[in-house]
């Protein structure tokens, strides 16, 4: 899931080198914290959160595969 988030984020931003994802696991729950450069925030969030929500939808597919639940937070730098 971390790899999926990193791949999508790096492909969308102007500063792929600034993309980092922290993965925090608590039993069946996975929290992903996505860090991007300040001026790339809009690219990974999108209008009305549309991009971030689409990423969350795809993450859910990966999460269901290993029976976990996933949360994605885009973290302000």
């Amino acid at each position: 899931m971390k790899a999926l988030t990193e791949y999508i984020a790096r492909s969308l931003v102007d500063h792929p080198e600034d993309v980092a994802v922290d993965e925090i696991r608590h039993s069946g729950r996975v929290t992903l914290e996505l860090h991007v450069a300040k001026d790339d925030m809009g690219r990974v969030i999108g209008k009305g959160g549309r991009v971030a929500n689409a990423i969350r939808t795809l993450l859910r597919v990966a999460a269901e595969r290993d029976g976990s639940q996933v949360t994605l937070d885009v973290v302000e730098p």
């Binding site: 999508i8 790096r10 969308l12 939808t57």
Partner: protein, 234 residues
């Protein structure tokens, strides 16, 4: 540059194995030599088939910044084939990282009014319901992300349409039939008929289907994602 210089891949066909290998290496087809180790066989009714095996060997790099590893955005697409390659690589990478094994076919659709051709992606394989989801939620999310990534990497807007196991074609037929049925209902009862909420591409189909209907007009009402088509008797 990746320290690995050769990679062996196994997949259902030679083409798939090569595509998988290229996606994993993040390299365009020109950057590798392909050696077919086993061309595989389909088997009877999918039983007893043999997987294809290929070996990709990375060609020595000419000096220069081109053809870096996948994490770097590809250079802007100058040729059409670059576009198809970017689209294939993007979809393959996403499916791989979503842990959904599937095959990917890529081609151009027919040109629209402005002369730009959409890229059509067909995903097929077993048990791909996970890629569609309720009201195609997952399929639409995948298509949206692929559109963004391919357009970003190509340097201009590219329309990519993704279908899974013919889902969109079946859904389109259903929607057209439903549109006609609800239009009949609107005429018969004299009352406007509201359809269920739909994404923009599906609402568009309904509007087009009923555009020339003599007795009804259509409009979209409400806010995303609950926006829906209303069929109004004239």
């Amino acid at each position: 540059m990746n320290e690995r210089t050769t990679l062996e891949k196994i997949a259902a066909s030679v083409d798939e194995a090569v595509a998988d290998g290229l996606a994993e290496l993040g390299l365009p087809a020109e950057a590798v030599d392909v050696e077919v180790l086993d061309s595989g066989s389909r088997g009877l009714l999918g039983i007893g088939g043999r997987q294809a095996r290929v070996r990709l060997t990375i060609k020595p790099q000419p000096a220069g910044p081109d053809a870096g590893p996948a994490a770097e955005p590809l250079p802007a697409a100058e040729a059409d084939d670059d576009l198809l390659r970017i689209a294939r690589q993007t979809v393959t990478e996403l499916l791989d990282k979503m842990k959904v094994p599937a095959f990917v076919d890529i081609r151009y659709g027919s040109a629209d009014e402005e002369g730009s051709r959409p890229v059509l992606v067909d995903i097929h394989g077993d048990d791909l319901g996970v890629l569609i989801g309720r009201r195609a939620e997952i399929l639409n999310a995948l298509q949206y992300i692929v559109n963004l990534i391919v357009s970003k990497q190509a340097g201009h807007w590219v329309q990519v349409t993704i279908d899974v196991e013919g889902y969109r074609a079946r859904r389109e037929r259903q929607l057209r039939q439903m549109a006609q049925r609800m239009a009949d209902q609107a005429v018969k009862t004299g009352h406007r008929q509201s359809l269920e909420p739909m994404p923009a591409n599906e609402r568009r189909l309904i509007h087009i289907e009923l555009r020339d209907h003599p007795d009804v007009t259509t409009q979209s009402v409400g806010d995303e994602p609950a926006r829906k088509v209303t069929i109004v008797p004239k």
